[in-house]
């Protein structure tokens, strides 16, 4: 695969033309080009976000303008420079690493002292249990799949233990490093796929527009790490495919060793990334074998000389891991996600439920400018798909990898459709990190072909394109994060990270210090994250004897069904947050997505329903902090 040499940096990287020392420094000169200057600008953008978040915590009206300004200041200048024809390859690599690092910092600023995202607290629990017991397969009440995929905690635990860091510090360092390496890996992969370092830089800038990029994929969670492993495997595969055609096949055994190591690490780290990368490799191999009639069609002696070998290795490992280790937890988690999405889609088509109202969640809605930006962002990406497909399928120089990536981009349309339902939104959100691999590739291919953009002085056009990229980036964030989730702020009812409060933390710390670890508790979803992590208790969320656990909280009286839930579910404690009765759940539900009135509730849970517990014989309030009370159920269960 020959790389284009039209880009300034596509000559030997690391050795740009003007490395000679000059008497006076000129901005943009030197190996890193404008990257140091843009680092300064991005840092100011991050500072604006920090000040905006501070304003949000006090309810100031300046919060949002500062936040958006900071995001734009972080992203736009880097996108502009990545579009430029004059940047060297080294500068582009520095810029994509800078973009990854700066945007990760934006995520850290949301909660710089502790984890507050649901998955992060689930992984905190997994790492904590590993440190306590030495067992990476301990069950996890928050993220049920952690015992099946312990790659992340097995990497974080030694860092925390050896360097004597808190799990939060160790996890943040791990994700920060991985995130920066991910951007470089993505650049290198797209560079091979597009055969241009400039297109690769543009592709990375587009990838950062995916709705999950800023927060979800920056979490201390397994998919954040797995994507780096998946891209590393793709990089090795590209080298494998290239080397197979060379005489002597130098380094073939090394590449197989690298494939084995990466495929196994990926397999034990994250189910969906393993399956997605397997699908990509299998599709690539299929195109290679059956669909590539172009001039670039590889002449291989064996199918295994192409992407089929890593596909088979990964497929075998993932299948064996599923069969012997992680099948149960994988079915539990992915089953819930996919059946929920399918059920919602069927209900939507056949009128079983009303569609989700776009841009609204739990009474929080986007402003009109935000909606316009989001729509423009989606339309811009949709426009890329036909242009890119036309470009790829018409070109006789397109290869099978490019065609597979182009087809992956088409899935974006499907994921948009999923967003019309509540359950489908989660699937769409999770899929975006993979779908955007294809979209980033197509966008890069379309933009690199714009002849006017190749000119050194096409500054107006570049400004317009950088502006459009920034609009897509901001729009992606608006699509991916509901209004209440974008910035920190005062407590909100059932709004996940915005529901993490001092009272909730105090209750969790009490539970960890005074109650038996692993006790089974009924608790609302938001407090479950704290009780299940810092509190070391096990929140129960599934039905008991076919009865929804929400009967315990929603019923006016603690009747027979609710008592059955407590007795047969072996519930040790009930945790009641009186603040739930203040407003309807901002996130759409109080306890589970299947509860009555989920996503459609107009009135809050009744105060009487939450106040019934002190009068129930057999229940004893053993802890109270004003907002949260913990009831011991032993009198009810054994009395």
């Amino acid at each position: 695969m020959a790389l284009e040499t039209a880009d300034a940096g596509a000559t030997l990287a690391g050795a740009p033309a003007d490395v000679s020392r000059q008497a006076r420094y000129r901005p943009g000169s030197g190996p890193l080009g404008f990257a140091p200057v843009l680092a300064l600008v991005a840092a100011i953008g991050v500072l604006l976000v920090a000040v905006g978040d501070d304003a949000a915590r006090t309810g100031s009206s300046l919060a949002q303008p500062l936040f958006w300004l900071g995001l734009v200041a972080t992203y736009a200048p880097i996108a502009f420079r990545l579009l430029s024809a004059s940047a060297s390859r080294t500068e582009r690599i520095a810029l994509v690493a800078l973009l990854g690092g700066a945007l990760f910092l934006v995520k850290v600023l949301y909660s710089p002292n502790s984890f507050v995202f649901y998955d992060e607290l689930g992984w905190w629990r997994a790492t904590h249990d590993l440190l306590q017991t030495g067992d990476p397969f301990s069950s996890n009440p928050l993220v049920v799949t952690t015992p099946g995929f312990p790659g992340l905690d097995l990497f974080t635990a030694p860092l925390a233990q050896l360097a004597k860091l808190s799990i939060f510090d160790a996890g943040t360092i791990v994700i920060g490093v991985v995130r920066t390496a991910l951007m470089v890996a993505l650049f290198l992969f797209l560079e091979r796929a597009t055969r241009s370092s400039r297109a690769a830089g543009i592709g990375v800038a587009v990838y950062a527009c995916n709705p999950s990029f800023l927060y979800f994929n920056g979490q201390f969670a397994y998919e954040s790490v797995a994507l780096l492993l998946g891209l590393s495997l793709l990089l090795v595969t590209v080298r494998w495919v290239e080397s197979a055609g060379l005489a002597g096949g130098r380094g073939m055994r090394s590449l197989i060793a690298a494939m084995l190591l990466l495929a196994f690490t990926l397999t034990v780290t994250h189910h969906m990334t393993s399956y997605a990368i397997f699908a990509l490799l299998a599709g690539w191999a299929a195109f290679d074998e059956f669909g590539d009639n172009t001039e670039n069609a590889p002449a291989r002696e064996s199918l295994l000389d192409g992407p089929a070998l890593p596909a088979i290795l990964l497929g075998l490992m993932a299948s064996a891991w599923f069969l012997f280790v992680a099948g149960g937890v994988t079915i539990t988690e992915l089953g819930d996600v996919f059946t929920g999405a399918i059920r919602s889609a069927v209900d939507l088509v056949f009128g079983g439920s009303a569609p989700k109202r776009p841009f609204e969640a739990g009474g929080q809605s986007n402003t009109w400018p935000e909606r316009l930006i989001a729509v423009a962002s989606v339309l811009s990406l949709l426009l890329v798909i036909p242009l890119g497909l036309r470009r790829i399928w018409r070109s006789s120089a397109s290869d099978s990898l490019q065609r597979v990536l182009a087809l992956i981009a088409v899935l974006y349309v499907v994921t948009l459709g999923l967003r019309l339902t509540h359950n489908g939104t989660e699937t769409s959100q999770r899929a975006s990190e993979f779908v955007f691999l294809g979209l980033a590739f197509l966008a890069a291919m379309v933009l690199k072909d714009l002849s006017w953009l190749r000119r050194e002085r096409a500054r107006v056009g570049m400004l317009a394109l950088a502006g459009l990229a920034t609009l897509v980036f901001v729009g992606g964030f608006i699509v991916g994060e509901p209004p209440q989730g974008r910035q920190p702020g005062p407590f909100l009812v059932s709004a996940e990270r915005r529901s993490v409060s001092a009272q909730g933390i105090a209750a969790a710390e009490f539970a960890a210090a005074e109650l038996p670890p692993g006790s089974r508790v009924l608790v609302d979803h938001a407090n479950a994250t704290l009780i299940g992590s810092y509190g070391e208790l096990d929140p129960v969320t599934r039905r008991v004897d076919g009865i929804s656990i929400t009967r315990v909280f929603f019923d006016r009286n603690l009747g027979r069904p609710a008592r059955r839930v407590i007795r047969n579910g072996h519930i040790d404690y009930l945790i009641v947050d009186r603040r739930l009765s203040r407003t309807p759940p901002v996130g759409g539900y109080y306890f589970t997505q299947q509860e009555p009135g989920a996503f459609s509730r107009a009135t809050p849970i009744s105060r009487a329903a939450l106040n019934k517990f002190p009068t129930v014989p057999g229940l004893k309030k053993i802890y109270a902090n004003g907002a949260i009370a913990i009831y011991d159920t032993s009198g009810l269960r054994f009395g």
Binding site: I44, Y110, F155, P158, L159, P488, P490, P516, K620, G626
Partner: protein, 257 residues
């Protein structure tokens, strides 16, 4: 494509030396910050770097590819090594240290034997211009300031919640060793020093009472004999502030003991 990077053997010697320094840092008492700085690379960088050098022939991967594989292989070393080791030993500090040291040093040895005189060191430090370096340093400082602002802001937000917590539990229940005693606790999260009055009652009769002052964030705990001392029926703890009932919790000694 970038030129395959050629480092001679100095890089591997440095990796091996750093991992041995990591071992020394764990046995010799050093300040935590120093220990963290030295040991972080032992987990995140060194095993992966050594593995990449051992797996790929000299000059086979570019500098950028090596950077990516260094992190990815380090994850693999800890994850797969940990999975294997936990089959035979408990994963603790010593196990992790041993695993990472063995992987790093063994991979360094393999890599050194592969290179074995094939390459001479041609890498040299690129010229450093003070202006971009200064720009990067200032950028890092601004990023640090942003983190400090956010950290203070998040702490202040938590401190704005003012409340006190009261609890009563069987002592030792968290460790599964019931001491036939009750444990009563009060914690002040009011953001200022406060005077409390606490009353313990059984069948409406006061059993014990205390008056105490707690500073912001302070915890007060005491134990009482349970079971036969009280007989059946709930033991009630009532917390007063300004002589007004503020919190009330209870435990049924009959059921819990």
């Amino acid at each position: 494509l970038s030129r395959p990077s050629v480092l001679g053997e100095r890089d591997l010697v440095a990796v091996a030396a750093l991992s041995v320094v990591g071992l020394l840092v764990t046995v010799i008492p050093f300040p935590d910050w120093f220990r963290a700085i030295v040991l972080m690379p032992l987990v995140i960088v060194l095993p992966g770097y050594a593995l990449a050098a051992a797996i790929f022939p000299p000059g086979f991967v570019t500098r950028e590819e090596r950077t990516v594989f260094t992190i990815a292989f380090s994850i693999g070393a800890a994850a797969l090594g940990g999975l294997l080791l936990q089959l035979v030993v408990r994963l603790d500090r010593g196990t992790w240290l041993g695993l990472l040291l063995v992987v790093t040093l063994a991979a360094c040895a393999v890599a050194l034997s592969r290179r074995n005189g094939q390459f001479t060191a041609t890498w040299k430090m690129p010229p450093i211009d003070p202006v971009p370096v200064a720009a990067i340093v200032v950028a890092v400082a601004i990023g640090g300031a942003a983190l400090a602002i956010a950290s203070n802001s998040a702490s202040r937000q938590l401190d704005r919640s003012h409340f006190s917590a009261l609890w009563i539990v069987p002592k030792g229940i968290n460790s599964g060793r019931s001491a036939n005693q009750l444990e009563i606790g009060v914690q002040n999260h009011e953001g200022r020093s406060l005077r409390y009055r606490l009353r313990i009652s059984h069948h409406s009769a006061t059993v014990r009472k205390w008056k105490f002052r707690l500073g912001s964030g302070q915890l007060w705990q005491t134990s009482l004999p349970a079971g036969s001392a009280f007989g059946n029926g709930p033991v009630v703890a009532t917390l007063f502030r300004n002589d007004v009932i503020y919190r009330r919790v209870a435990i049924d000694t009959g059921a819990s003991f």
